[in-house]
Amino acid sequence: MITAGSGTATRDHAEIELTDGVQIQSQPTDGRPPVHVTTPKLKFLPMTSLAETDEHVVMSAGNWHVEANGLRTLLKADRMELESDVHGQFAP
């Protein structure tokens, strides 16, 4: 699920530009903790389920808190790539 404060779409709805507190939340059904991502800006391509940004990204999953620059994720493939400057912390 993706939510944002505002967004614009191209005329053919092939590309949606989301801004203003973008949030991505996975909804696992197998008991794993959901992955929650926030970023100020995100480009989403509905046809391929690709979401990407070059902006600062904050991801949390379970007790993990990870920050990075840049995100690329194929939502349907359940795969998330943080591109650079990854800094994560697991608090016991």
Partner: protein, 210 residues
């Protein structure tokens, strides 16, 4: 043979009380967070695998770096496994440096529990300059030991020891003992002649055991 060698080593390898206390005061009760710094990071939820480039994992006074790592999950709470590949370098308690081609570290109860380093594995104790190498080196964080096996050798100022099935280096007591005797391979104990007479009352090293 092995037990007599073990006794000999225990006798010969002196350790000052201050060294032992300093080592035991290390991070055994540390509960600091596990911190990951890295390049590109891929989380695959279908396989529950994480692939990380240029990882640096820090907890308490232990730091692990490598070219690449694959982890079985983000959850250090349960028993998770991290496989490191390429230029694996581990610093333990700011004192020990371990290196290897590859390594598998397991975390249990949110803490680094054990590391198995493979392929040209080495260790150096920066306090004593003790060092060793083997094709396989197992680091036990709880026991604070290094188990060297497969072409194992340890160098101390007073002697070199090599051979046998494996050698166990006690990181708290700075002491090496022989391990398993199951392979039947003999240990070779080579005493280094002192460059000058001992002045601290320490006994000279024993003669080689053949």
């Amino acid at each position: 043979m092995a037990s007599s060698l073990r006794n000999l080593l225990i006798c010969v390898l002196g350790l000052t009380a201050s060294q032992a206390l300093a080592a035991q005061g290390a991070s055994s009760d540390c509960r600091d967070p596990v911190v990951l710094d890295s390049g590109p990071f891929v989380l695959d939820h279908k396989t529950n695998l994480i692939n990380v480039q240029n990882p640096k994992i820090t907890q308490c006074k232990t730091v692990i770096t490598a070219d690449e790592a694959v982890a079985t999950g983000l959850d250090f709470d349960t028993r998770s496994e991290w496989r490191f590949k390429g230029h694996v370098h581990v610093v333990v308690d700011n004192t020990y440096e371990l290196t290897a081609d590859t390594a598998v570290f397991t975390f249990a109860d949110k803490r680094l529990a054990r590391g198995q380093l493979l392929g040209s594995a080495t260790f150096v104790d920066k306090q004593t300059t003790d060092k060793g190498s083997a094709n396989k080196l197992v680091y036990d964080d709880k026991a604070k030991t290094l188990l060297l096996s497969d072409n194992a050798q340890v160098h101390k100022a007073q002697y070199d020891i090599q051979g046998g099935c494996d050698l166990i280096y006690d990181m708290n007591e700075k002491r090496v003992t022989s391990g398993s005797t199951s392979c039947g391979e003999r240990y070779h104990f080579i005493a280094a002649p002192p460059e000058k007479p001992h002045q601290d009352g320490e006994a000279p090293a024993a003669a080689p055991a053949k």
